[in-house]
């Protein structure tokens, strides 16, 4: 036990007190801040052309109050026909002239409005002009059809489902809890994915290095192979956790700084790519208080420990496989990649299933994958926030824990033989034989 602790300590300190680790850990949040500020800045730039547009409106259908004044495009309303407004383009008073006519048929839907200009109009500009005109025509129609504006506004409806349990009075589920669950689940799933993949690779590289520098034989004359392997896995895992903690502390800080710098929250778009962003938009409309309330209602005393258990077992499962691969290949990077491919595929598949599970946490796919050890570490945590049946959580955890133990033993066997085996090509067949060495 004492030796295991020494190994863990070495694996941890040689990494954490390295300049590159400190730099990377601090630079990533800074990089994200810089990146978001730049992206935010680019996105916030108004890309509409700065032009003046005259509206030739001889029949005075345009309602001046419906034209937005803060727009980049300035409108000048005139009752003159186009012919007499031409000179204004020449003198540079405005760059374009729109010719509007009230529709003869109030039921007409499609209009073709002529715009006279020598400028090239980009997509944003023409869309802005079209929107402006559309508002005018809609307003004209409402007025001339003698519709009541208030009545029209009441036509829009929003529906939310209010679920009431019939027999099973376990927990109230609202729209908010779905959204909160999605966000939480998404974060848990992605965290798992990044961690397992990143730290797993680190374990593999470290084992390869140990084998190639031939230090391993010296170490193995002092400790058992399983101790060395476990010490490495735990040490590297602790490094990852340290980094994660630093980031968890830094990220909100980064968010606050960017928000202050740009005056708006630019962090939301950076989460896109996952269907979490949809949920966030939805969450926005639900109000912060509701979300906070929902978060408060979550059974954190259950979720957090269970999540951590999944995290630990999932990491051990994949990291021991990575260690086994590292011990089998030695210095051949391409061979390592080849052997790693099935594992990477499993992890990526797990992530995709997890993302599907966010949308449908009670689906067959989600439930069955929770009982497959390679998917469970990603899928089950995403479902946790949706309050799945307890037996499913516990069964999933039990299956994962048992397979974690089993695969760690398997990996240790491969590791023990592989780490001292030089100059043999590590095919799956070859590795299979190692399992039966004494």
């Amino acid at each position: 036990m004492n030796k295991l602790w020494l190994i863990i300590k070495r694996e941890y300190t040689t990494r954490v007190f390295k300049k590159s680790f400190i730099l990377l850990t601090l630079l990533v949040p800074l990089g994200i801040i810089a990146f978001s500020v730049i992206i935010g800045f680019i996105m916030s730039r108004n890309t509409v052309q700065n032009i003046r547009v005259a509206i030739s409106d001889p029949q005075q259908m345009v309602n001046d109050s419906l034209i937005r004044k803060n727009s980049e495009i300035q409108y000048i309303i005139s009752d003159q026909p186009f012919e007499s407004l031409k000179s204004g383009i020449q003198s540079g008073q405005y760059q374009a002239v729109l010719e509007v006519m009230p529709p003869e048929d109030l039921k007409q839907k499609d209009f073709k409005i002529r715009i006279n200009t020598d400028e090239r109009l980009d997509i944003n500009t023409s869309e802005s002009i079209r929107n402006t005109l559309a508002r005018q025509y809609r307003n004209y129609k409402i007025k001339n059809l003698q519709l009541n504006m208030d009545e029209i506004n009441t036509l829009d409806v929003d529906i939310s489902l209010d679920r009431h349990a019939v027999f099973n009075q376990d927990k109230k589920q609202s729209n908010v809890s779905n959204v909160v669950g999605a966000i939480l689940g998404g974060i848990m799933g992605i965290l798992m994915y990044i961690f397992v993949l990143g730290q797993g690779m680190m374990v593999m590289r470290s084992v390869m290095e140990e084998k190639m520098t031939r230090i391993v034989e010296v170490i193995l004359s002092s400790v058992k192979p399983i101790e060395l392997m476990m010490g490495k896995i735990i040490g590297v895992g602790a490094v990852g956790l340290t980094q994660l903690l630093i980031w968890i502390i830094f990220m909100p800080l980064a968010g606050i700084i960017t928000t202050l710098m740009l005056g708006k929250n630019v962090f939301k778009p950076s989460m896109s790519g996952v269907n979490v962003d949809q949920a966030i938009q939805q969450a926005d409309s639900l109000g912060l208080e509701n979300i906070m309330m929902e978060l408060g209602q979550m059974n954190w005393w259950f979720i957090i420990p269970v999540f951590l258990l999944f995290f630990v077992f999932g990491y051990f499962l994949f990291a021991s496989l990575c260690a086994a691969i590292g011990s089998a290949v030695g210095d051949d990077q391409s061979e390592a990649q080849q052997l790693l491919l099935p594992i990477t595929l499993l992890i990526v598949m797990g992530l995709y299933i997890a993302m599907a599970a966010i949308r449908a946490p009670y689906s067959n796919l989600a439930v069955i994958s929770s009982f497959i050890p390679f998917f469970a570490p990603m899928v089950m945590p995403t479902r946790l926030a949706f309050d799945p049946p307890v037996w499913q959580t516990l069964l999933s955890l039990a299956i994962l824990a048992i397979s974690c133990y089993f695969f760690a033993l398997l990996a240790a066997k491969i590791y023990r033989t592989g780490i001292l085996m030089y100059g043999k090509k590590a095919s799956f067949k070859e590795i299979g034989k190692w399992l039966f060495y004494k």
Binding site: L6, R10, R214, E217, V218, I219, L220, S221, V223, L420
Partner: protein, 301 residues
């Protein structure tokens, strides 16, 4: 009393027998040579003794205790293929290895200071391993194998890559440790080193023990009745036929006489003939010759 005993130890990798029923006994306090051609099973044997791998069958006793599946802490081991973590400083590294051997921090530091002084490493023990020359890292590795004062020290090709000065330094340390009671198991295929250092030896080939015993005894038992005479005088053109002169180089003559002729008979003849004898000795075969002869014989068997 023996410190290490192997009884019919075997290890098979797939269908290849790396070690085949090896038995040997290493007496306490001697320097014991483990010889054999490449691939004979030396490293596998050592790995089983150190507990890195386990024998398929047979028993290993260390100081009277069966150690088949444990890692004995009373062994120091310097493997042939050796390395260190590149990014660690020599000091940190040796401290780590000493701690893995079960030394307390304080004890480890004490020992480390002693060895750094002794092996003249003061100017570079703070350096990182990757900055060291081959000889330097070899010294560091030597320290790693002896820092915990093992009863049995296993050295696999300890002098490869060392310059003559450092070779002598390590040789002296080995003798010193032996005098202090450490048993040294010394694996090599440099035969002149065996003659120079080892008291006992075992020769293994194809995983089998083909020759074991006291080095001098082995040499004696392999003598081929060869004699060498050095004389400042003019040597006679011919010696008696039964002397079987086989080589003449200047003032040096070698004989391989009939079996019934002993060294005394030769000497008597020289004196009677008035040949000045500057040097005369029976030639023992070198371990190198015995090695080659034995290995070839066992390969044919």
């Amino acid at each position: 009393m023996s410190i290490l005993t192997l009884q019919q130890v075997s290890k098979t990798f797939q269908n290849y027998k790396a070690v085949d029923q090896i038995s040997l006994t290493v007496p306490r306090g001697c320097i014991y040579g483990l010889l054999g051609p490449n691939g004979a099973g030396k490293t596998t044997t050592i790995r089983m003794i150190t507990g890195i791998t386990h024998p398929d069958s047979g028993d290993i006793f260390l100081g009277g205790n069966r150690v088949n599946k444990t890692i004995p802490s009373s062994i120091g081991y310097m493997p042939e293929e050796r390395g260190l973590y590149k990014k660690m400083s020599v000091w940190d590294h040796l401290l780590y290895l000493a701690r893995l051997k079960g030394l307390s921090v304080q004890k480890a530091k004490e020992e480390l200071k002693f060895w750094i002084e002794r092996l003249d490493m003061k100017s570079w023990y703070t350096k990182k391993v990757e900055e060291l020359s081959k000889g330097m890292s070899q010294k560091a590795q030597f320290i790693a194998s002896v820092i915990h004062k093992p009863d049995l020290l296993i050295l696999d090709e300890p002098f490869s890559g060392l310059d003559p000065i450092n070779t002598n330094l390590i040789k002296d340390e080995i003798s010193r440790l032996r005098d202090m009671g450490t048993t040294i198991l010394f694996s090599t295929h440099r035969m002149e080193q065996v003659e120079e250092i080892c008291e006992r030896m075992v020769l293994i080939n194809k995983g089998k023990n083909v020759l074991e015993g006291d080095v001098e005894e082995i040499r004696k038992s392999h003598r081929q009745h060869l004699f060498e005479l050095v004389s400042e005088n003019d040597l006679p053109g011919r010696f008696p036929d039964e002397f079987h002169e086989i080589q003449r180089l200047g003032k040096k003559v070698r004989f391989n006489p009939e079996p019934h002729i002993q060294s005394a008979d030769l000497l008597r003849y020289f004196l009677n003939e008035g040949i000045e004898v500057n040097a005369f000795r029976e030639q023992f075969p070198s371990i190198n010759d015995i090695f080659i002869e034995t290995v070839e014989k066992s390969n044919q068997a």
